[in-house]
Subunit: 277 residues, 4 copies
């Protein structure tokens, strides 16, 4: 039986009485006080510390996704605080759970689309032709092209030019960024409306430039948003809004059915049931 | 009815077509490319960006808690990846859920103990007397003093001297750090064994020095560990260990009951049920 | 090293090629098609199947807690569906996370209070005196007595008389139920307002009558509410409300800060930033 | 602005001072004490109470999925208990999070495959031809056919004949069950190994027979497993195994890297770092 066992391996961390190792670095001597939290994020994804340009770029990607005010994930966090104020970690976890295909997943989808279309960035292929093909394929499959357009930020997502400028300044503005822009241009023509690159498209493209796997892109969003959700959980403890949102929603959502109930009660000669609040 | 409504308020974020505001800062112009992820964490807790010393100190606190190799929370993340590899956010959330009273909660407990014992750090009280009183109270209530001792890191938690050195270098080594050290000394005497300040005790004390509320301490651990859990989720996708741990545990945990079942089957003249693996 | 290992044990389940065991029962022959989901819940908590009276009673406790319409936990589930419609399990998990000290935890607190006050239900003590002491202790500690009163259901929580009637009919209306009622009476007098036993108080008392440990009470709520949250997740997929709640909340919560931003922009001679929606 | 608002609607629940409504039923008079937890699950999915046959069938589906001993999801729950014993709801949530595409998701995939292949069960089509086409399509796309085969339960999953017998006895053994069996037969031929219908395939087919939408199938697994996970969380509190699994895994997984560290230390003339445990 024992021989059938597969060995367990992890390259990430280990401890001895006087040392803690993280991805081959000595935590105490080489990481604490020397690197920032974003660098640790790069280390967890790439297995090595970033150089100065990578550090600036990767922290910029993370900072972009930390916070966007009241959104579904921050509301899930706040609703959880209302019921379990003693478990802040559960409130943050509740908020992370919605980072799926609709909101933060588009970063992953954009990176995957680019890597699939251009597996080798140094390959001698026309980006223009590639972009046209990608858009045509999405159109034929009636799928929406990830990383483009935004319901609020129009005509331009203000985060995109900023991220692309930082990418240029740090040597991460190569063929994936170019391909993403060309896809946006062709998609705009094909779908006949402006479809500029949004923040998740920019982040997906820059992650490809940095050599990160597309699977890591959702992780970038998760790291960043966990930081922001802590802020919302703490604000909810100080200045709650969950309870008021709950009561207003419940009042309106069940009003028709409650009204019917009241009418039935009246018909039946019973007193009108008192309404809450 | 409408008058009864309480207004909804959040100071954290807002968006217009061309701007995104975060805690009073313009995300694009003032944050992306200018600050690191740890600074964003400080901003979410304190409502303002840190100065250079605060940035160094707060990033050091976060970096300390990102990673500790295979621990219960990273195993929960890896077990979740095994079942839902398509939902990285859920795997990270599963790992965060165990950051309760046993593991990361001790940071919160240490900070709360210090703030309760010394609400005003400039008060004219003897820290020695305060420390003795705190230890005596915990002893009388048969409660364990938070932030002291470590099962692996003996006689000293290597993270503690490093954190205290950074605190000294950046002006965060005041009366809360001193009180924490005095509590460790008195606890060691009272419980008759070495009880040095561990990493969570150091972080709790330094958070008090920085003026952060004790409620924020669990948030520091949650921000940091979310970053580390992304690394474990991605390693599990590349090099899985969850499945092997599951099978070994299942084999051993149900062996006695399975043996009994087999014996019953034999007695009953039925074939010995084949064992898995 | 090996000798230092503690054995791993679980009495819950096991599998062979042709059988699955659950708490000592053969799943296929003794459980599927023979018992209902509530009986399985009793089995998981008590380690044996319920008899007919226990089955009726325990299912009644569970049915009571499945559903209460739009509440914070169902809103957390719905917010998660909005972001990750592909991960229904994550949406239900998000809703469960808020079942903490405020909402479902009071069942646990009521059961614990009763067990602490009356560890042996057959002990020769006056329930009246015990009830008076319990209320006095809570009053002295300025703590709220769990299981009493309700913001909506006044003057009586309609679930309570129903649950107590079922308890009577099935032999679970003993001294814990009596003690809970006496505590309500004394609390009403002490706090000078009607404080009838609410559903969580009734469930806590009946769980004590059934010999269940107080730790199991939160589990009853979690089992029940998981069933209800599936209903909300599926309704949200068919008829979404999360997105509308989000936009209304965001609009109102960030209006003051957005207004300020607009005034600053005007003063600076810049165009009035267009508002969303 | 107000006119742009979409109304909020939910048909599930509502409350007045003396009544609680759930899916059109009066909770106190029509549900508590009259139906079991499985019936409530049917109500949440179908919007009406089941008849007697539906109740038997649906409870059988649920009971099948409650418990399978030590598996990844129960280990995630137990790891969470180790860190946050005070938050049972979080431990159960952690276990639910892994019910994704690999484990419980296959029920959903099987149901979806059947509904896609046979949208109208009364249509005049050959099930044999349909089954052959479904298998051929999966083969061509190199996709695995959901609901077939099992690593442990060979040659037959013992739950399947039991579920199919209950389906027959209650009038739920129609064309979807037949199609599922034919798909298994053709898949066995095409892939040249026995691929009998497993429990998730049986549940998916029976759910189609009952007229439930395929989206509900993951919900059935989530309801059922939440009940089982409460059992594991409570057993972990009484008889912990998470900590031992953690230490063994950590020891083995980081042994190579720790060995290297020790050798480096020796070479450098430093003392051999003491090993933990």
């Amino acid at each position: 039986m024992k021989d059938a066992r597969r060995p367990l391996r992890s390259a990430i961390g280990w401890s001895t009485a006087d040392r803690i190792g993280v991805w081959g670095y000595d935590l105490t001597r080489e990481l604490i006080g020397r690197v920032n939290l974003g660098d640790m994020g790069f280390l967890e994804i790439a297995g090595r510390l970033p150089n100065a340009r990578e550090s600036r770029m990767f922290n910029a990607l993370l900072v972009t996704l930390v916070e966007h005010g009241i959104v579904p994930s921050t509301l899930a966090t706040r609703m959880t605080v209302a019921g379990a104020p003693e478990a802040l970690q559960a409130a943050v976890a509740a908020g992370l759970l919605g980072l799926g295909s609709v909101f933060v997943g588009s970063t992953e989808a954009a990176a995957r689309m680019l890597k699939d279309a251009l597996p080798d960035p140094s390959a001698d292929v026309s980006l223009r032709t590639t972009a046209r093909r990608v858009v045509a394929e999405h159109r034929a499959a009636r799928r929406f092209v990830p990383g483009l357009g935004h319901p609020i930020h129009k005509p331009v997502d203000p985060r995109t030019p900023r991220l692309f400028a930082i990418a240029r300044a740090n040597g991460f503005s190569g063929r994936y960024v170019e391909l993403m822009k060309l896809i946006a241009m062709h998609a705009g023509q094909a779908f006949e409306r402006p479809l500029p690159v949004n923040a998740t498209g920019a982040i997906g493209a820059i992650a490809c430039e940095m050599g990160l796997p597309w699977q890591a892109c959702r992780g970038i969003g998760v790291m960043a948003r966990a930081v922001g959700l802590v802020g919302h959980a703490l604000e909810e403890l100080r200045e709650p809004l969950a309870s008021e949102v709950w009561h207003r929603t419940e009042d309106e959502a069940s009003a028709p059915i409650r009204g019917k109930l009241r009418r039935n009660a009246r018909t039946a000669g019973r007193a009108d049931p008192a309404r809450r609040r």
